[in-house]
Amino acid sequence: MFRFAMAAVAALMIGPAVALAQDGPLHIEIDEGVIEPLPYAMPVFLDEGGAGKFASDIAGVVNADLEGTGLFRRIGDNAYIQKFSAFNTPVSYADWQAINAQALIVGGVSQQGGKVVVKFRLYDVYSGQELGAGQQLAASPESWRRLAHKVADVIYSRITGESGYFDSRVVFVSETGPKNARQKRLAVMDYDGANVNYLTDSSTIVLAPRFSPKGDRVLYTTFETGFPRIKVINVSNAAGQLLPDVPGTMAFSPRFSPDGNSIVYSLEQNGNTDLYKSSATGGSPVRLTNSPAIETAPSFSPDGSRIVFESDRSGGQQIYIMSASGGEPTRISFGDGRYGTPVWSPRGDLIAFTKQSGGRFFIGVMRTDGSEERLLTASYLDEGPTWAPNGRVIMFTREAPGAGGGAQLFSVDITGRNLRKVGNPGGASDPSWGPLRP
């Protein structure tokens, strides 16, 4: 039974769940009746010595992570028949089968030697056995949320067969003020919006940050000299360095290569924007495209061999793929409307993009040959997708219309299901999802 449920969850995550209406591109129906989240039980984590509030706080974040995927549903405590008095109490599987729990998570928290320690076990209720071995994790008290995310990542991974994404961070642009006097700051947060830290002040415009593959650096565009320039900033101490510029030009849209050693970016000269590649500190720039059109928003393939980007060489924004060393690109987007901001999935199989059509914006995905286009969201202004480290969830910017309309971060899974606002970091745009943390 549980094995079947596991397979079902994995299949549901992959299968197309978005039904596009046939009468036009502006309407998306998400068939929400199909997926039944997997019901699980998780009694309050046991206090195994000095746990204090960490027992309930950590359990709360584990539940928020799992239920936040839309793939899991926690059964409430008052339904539970068996009570656990100790971490190693034998499981009465019949008691959990009786309340239709498919998975059972038992956890305990303690504080030892200045560390918070979490241990947990995951049980397959219907087959009546433990799924994987029990695990114990420890961290300093201020990192308690990371402990919870790591527990949830293990559980998610064991049940879905996919790697998790909860213990990860997102760099974004924090926004305050009205639309015609917007103030922007670079910030990082946990994937769920917690622990916001600012990397810059609001004295100048900052745009479109990108995490390095290891999550230690961020590339972004800054107007601090009065003109768009590329800057790299160290996440741990906010020390930044402007990359060398070519006088009279604008440089923007920087992205790291998968090995973190080089970058690809847009350089504008005399009104024409092309793609260049250089070392991660801006040395030895090489021109990759040479056309009178706008070439921007590049993204490396996970193996570093190719670059997907947008160009309006056909007359409007469309998506192209070329070798990472340049050369003739191949157009992959052919639908109605404009296609921009392509981002290569970390799994390599899909390209996420922003589509504009009929005065609306959409976030979508397509295969790397342009086939199987699926639109996942639609609104007045959705843009700038970024991938979760496991390639199953996309975060993006949604901006509301009008003078008071602000930008917020949303996430959606690649079936178009589980659209939700990300945490509460205030006004926010241009997310870039970092790697799963070690």
Binding site: P178, K179, N180, A181, R182, K184, I205, L207, A208, T221, F223, G226, F227, P228, G248, M250, F252, S253, S266, E268, N270, G271, N272, T273, I294, T296, A297, E310, D312, G316, Q317, G340, T341, T354, Q356, G359, Y380, L381, E383, G384, E399, P401, G402, A403, G405, D430
Partner: protein, 178 residues
């Protein structure tokens, strides 16, 4: 004498522009260095006094009477006939006031993705720059910058506002340029 003629032409150009596009200047009150004269967030005229709008040698006159701004169609950087008339006035003013240099700011409406709009704004600024150069303004006195969709003038979610935001603004300051 020569200068006065040019000033008169500049005024005539403004008159045309105002007639063709009554929305552009709102209620007709000019606010040099303020609502539209400043371009993006207080870039202004480099700390230069804006002066009196009735003084043809003042930045206020350039901004308000010659017209510091031209507009573009959706996703376009082509100069309209109206834009060329305004830019002719700008070129004449700049040619007769060599002590000023200019930064041309390109802007886009919010109906586009962020980085594309940055590139699009650069195209618009460059189109203005090229025209001014073609009218005899030294390229050394002109720089361009794009703000993409980061600095809208009008914030409603309708074409009437988008049209105001698709613009290039010539922001003058004292100095002979680089």
């Amino acid at each position: 004498m020569n200068f006065a003629m040019k000033a008169a032409i500049g005024l005539a150009v403004l008159g045309l522009a105002a007639c063709n596009n009554p929305d552009k200047y709102g209620d007709g009150v000019v606010d040099p260095g303020g609502a539209y004269g400043s371009g993006a967030y207080g870039a202004g005229a480099g700390g230069v006094s804006q002066g009196n709008i009735n003084d043809p040698n003042s930045p206020a006159y350039f901004n308000g009477r010659v017209g510091d701004m031209v507009h573009f169609l959706v996703d376009q950087s082509t100069l309209s006939g109206e834009a060329i008339q305004i830019l002719s006035g700008q070129a004449q003013w700049l040619n007769s006031h060599p002590q000023y240099s200019a930064i041309i700011e390109g802007h886009a409406d919010e109906q586009g993705t962020r980085e594309y709009n940055l590139a699009l704004g650069a195209r618009r600024a460059s189109a203005v720059q090229e025209y001014l150069i073609s009218q005899g303004v030294s390229s050394a006195r002109l720089r361009t910058v794009s703000y993409g969709k980061e600095r809208p003038l009008a914030t409603c979610a309708a074409e009437s506002c988008f049209a105001q935001n698709r613009r290039a603004v010539t922001v003058i300051s004292l100095g002979a340029g680089s």
